[in-house]
């Protein structure tokens, strides 16, 4: 049922992404075990928390980016009403990206890292990533420029991936000054998740909404302009909420605080417009699960990234909660809500078409959806409780990090419990996506 032959190139991207997702979660469970139990010295020596964390976060970024890239290749022909410029480039890009990821993870196991959190991939491999990113931007750009029809959605998507690739460069150099190092580290981390990635999410979701609900393209595009405008307006200067405690002028407390306080606004608009488009739908609901994912993504995005982020980034609160498990709680809810659910929405939109299925049997998919949603909500709550407790013990009662962290052992066993349930939800969903079948009428 795919309309363009070159859309098929999306499949290996989505498949690889789906394989990495459970691996990321398994690495996460191992981190929870590190917190919850005392491990023998010999084991810690050969496989440290740091290595496991690098694997957990890098597989996250890898499966999200693979999903974005695969999703882009799937929707681009539909948007531009033409084939992708070059499927060869698309495959080459995938091979380079995937091989780099594999070499990076093996390297981590042997201590080969750049030593920067979340950007552990060593510099030589960074260049391979840059090559893959250039191929991607080039391929998408040429496709868009050659298209007969172009709309704002394609431009946003192209803008998002170009912005994403450019920002990656700021994480590569060695900075002598730690304070400058972290200033630009946030250009990658913050401007990715609260800038470039939001552009990609907003445009892909806008397109999926048009396709699934059948609402007027013009209306969706108007919303898209306003939302991305607000995302970038609040998000770019909002980077300042990471600069409170790095050694920076006082005005960052104001610029960072005020702009990040406005950050939930575009996400709230996103929830509102998703809701309105669904209410005013012109198409019948064929696959209810797709709609569940669209709504789930909007609501979870708003709660995890918007509300949780808002509370945590006000300077007087952040003074106490910065660098504690509160950030972990926010990080999990935000990444799951905004990006993991976006990818899964794309998978549920694209994979049935790639497999030529109109209406799929969604029984296991629904189980997977709710298992993931509920267990992630609980994980977020437990991380949050642990974080507030840690902050209170360590920074208000002043009883020392290690003593405060002894209480973490209990809470991380609880996290481990919900994490195992989450993994079950993930495996169910991945299994369902790989084995989609036509529904019996």
């Amino acid at each position: 049922m795919i309309r363009y032959e070159s859309q098929k190139v999306a499949y290996p991207y989505l498949a690889l992404s789906l394989i990495l997702f459970p691996l990321q979660v398994i690495a996460g469970l191992w981190l929870a075990i590190n917190y919850g139990f005392t491990l023998p010295q010999g084991l810690v020596d050969v496989f440290s928390f740091a290595t496991a964390r690098a694997i957990h976060t890098n597989t996250l970024v890898a499966w999200l980016l693979l999903g974005f890239m695969g999703g882009t290749y799937f929707v681009l022909p539909l948007m531009t009403k033409g084939e992708i410029f070059s499927t060869r480039i698309a495959y080459a890009q995938l091979v380079i990206f995937a091989l780099t990821a594999v070499v990076a993870v093996i390297g981590f196991l042997f201590g080969w890292t750049q030593g920067k959190p979340l950007l552990e991939i060593p510099v030589p491999l960074d260049f391979l990533i840059v090559v893959a990113a250039l191929l991607f931007v080039f391929n998408v750009a040429v496709t868009v420029f050659k298209a007969k029809e172009r709309s704002v959605i394609e431009w946003m998507l192209l803008g998002g991936i170009t912005f994403l690739s450019l920002l990656y460069l700021f994480g590569i150099p060695f900075y002598r000054n730690l304070n400058t190092d972290y200033y630009y580290w946030w250009w990658v981390i913050h401007l990715w998740v609260e800038g470039a990635w939001e552009l990609i999410t907003a445009s892909i979701i806008a397109f999926v909404i048009i396709e699934v609900t059948g609402v007027d393209r013009k209306v969706v595009e108007k919303w898209l302009y306003v939302e991305t405008g607000l995302f970038l307006f609040t998000g770019i200067t909002g980077t300042g909420h990471h600069y409170y405690w790095i050694g920076s002028p006082d005005y960052w407390l104001w610029w960072g605080g005020i702009f990040s306080a406005l950050e939930p606004l575009p996400i709230a608009l996103m929830v509102l417009d998703t809701w309105m488009h669904i209410k005013e739908r012109k198409n019948p609901i064929v696959n209810l699960l797709q709609w569940k994912y669209i709504i789930g993504c909007a609501i979870f995005h708003f709660l995890g990234a918007g509300i949780w982020g808002f509370i945590h980034t006000l300077p007087p609160i952040n003074y106490y909660t910065h660098g504690s498990q509160v950030t972990v709680s926010h990080g999990h809810l935000a990444f799951f809500g905004a990006y993991a659910l976006l990818n899964l929405t794309v998978f549920y939109y694209a994979l049935p078409q790639l497999k030529n299925i109109r209406k799929f049997d969604d029984k296991w998919g629904v189980y997977g959806f709710w298992t993931m949603i509920v267990s992630m909500v609980f994980m977020g709550i437990v991380f949050g409780v642990a974080g507030i407790l840690q902050t209170y013990l360590e920074r208000i009662l002043d009883i020392g990090y290690m003593t405060a962290h002894m209480t973490m052992m209990f809470w991380f066993r609880v996290v481990l419990f919900f994490g195992v349930i989450f993994l079950i939800g993930v495996l169910t969903t991945v299994y369902h996506l790989f084995t989609l079948k036509e529904a019996k009428e």
Binding site: N34, T38, Q41, D45, S48, F49, A50, R53, A54, G111, T113, Q114, G115, K116, P117, E120, R176, N177, L178, N179, T180, Y182, Y183, W185, K218, E221, K222, W223, Y225, V226, T228, G229, L230, L232, T234, I236, T237, T239, G240, Y243, Y244, W245, G247, S248, P249, Y251, W252, W255, F259, Y319, Y320, H322, G323, E394, D398, G400, Y401, M402, M406, M409
Partner: protein, 237 residues
């Protein structure tokens, strides 16, 4: 709302924020020396490379960023002092023998550890609005100690030196025991204890405690303090 208004909102919002952000970035670099006053010596740069080499930042936070699995390192120099940092990174298995959480043996050499200390000392000098809050007491104690030991209470002085591993009245870290318990079981006299503080191996071979980089006078003052906690003989029994 028309499509044109929407488009205007996008461009105005994006450009205004970009301009503000780039201007603040320019200003940030202009003002940098106000917040980072200490010289970035070659040792500091070497130390930073070592910090990256062993991926310390994926367990420890620094400036609050990184892994939350181990304590923040921003003000570690004040909290632990040079000797304790070297002892910990070169012998984590010894230092955390009885701890519920372990630090991996990374194979850091003594020379690398010294450079790491230079880096951490430099990081500690960044003016970052007194973050993290829990380490401010160590920074204050260190600065008072530097200004002259007479001005500070004995407890501050002792905890500023020994608080990296020992605890007293909820201060410090419980790695090598609380001073009240140590005082109860100690058999050294004042001079032996002072010698022990300066060079533990010379008094008791195999001791896990690292040599303390303090003057003999300070060592004697610490010895006095510990011995003063010794409970008196229970004559009434």
């Amino acid at each position: 709302m028309t499509g044109k208004t929407a488009k205007t909102i996008f461009w105005v919002g994006t450009l205004v924020s970009t301009v503000i952000f780039l201007w603040l970035t320019y200003d940030f670099h202009q003002q940098e020396r106000k917040f980072v006053k200490a010289e970035i010596s070659p040792d500091v740069i070497e130390g930073k490379k070592i910090w990256h080499k062993y991926n310390c930042n994926d367990c420890h936070t620094i400036l609050g960023f990184g892994g939350y699995y181990a304590p923040d390192m921003t003000k570690a120099y004040y909290r632990l002092g040079e000797n304790n940092i070297i002892a910990i990174v070169t012998n984590p298995d010894q230092v955390y023998k009885n701890s519920f959480r372990k630090m991996p043996r990374l194979g850091v050499t003594k020379e690398e550890a010294t450079k790491l200390v230079a880096f951490l000392k430099w990081v500690g000098s960044i003016e970052n609005r007194n973050w993290p809050p829990q380490d401010e007491k160590f920074v204050r104690a260190f600065k008072l100690r530097e200004a002259g030991a007479k001005q500070i209470s004995t407890v501050d002085m002792v905890m500023g030196t020994c608080g990296g591993c020992h605890s007293f009245q909820k201060q410090g870290r419980r790695i090598a025991g609380d001073f009240v318990e140590i005082a109860r079981t100690i058999t050294f006299d004042r001079d032996t204890l002072a010698k022990f503080i300066l060079n533990p191996q010379a008094v008791k071979a195999g001791s896990a405690m690292p040599s303390q980089n303090v003057s003999p006078e300070t060592a004697s003052q610490i010895a006095d303090f510990i011995l003063s906690l010794k409970p008196g003989k229970e004559v009434q029994k």
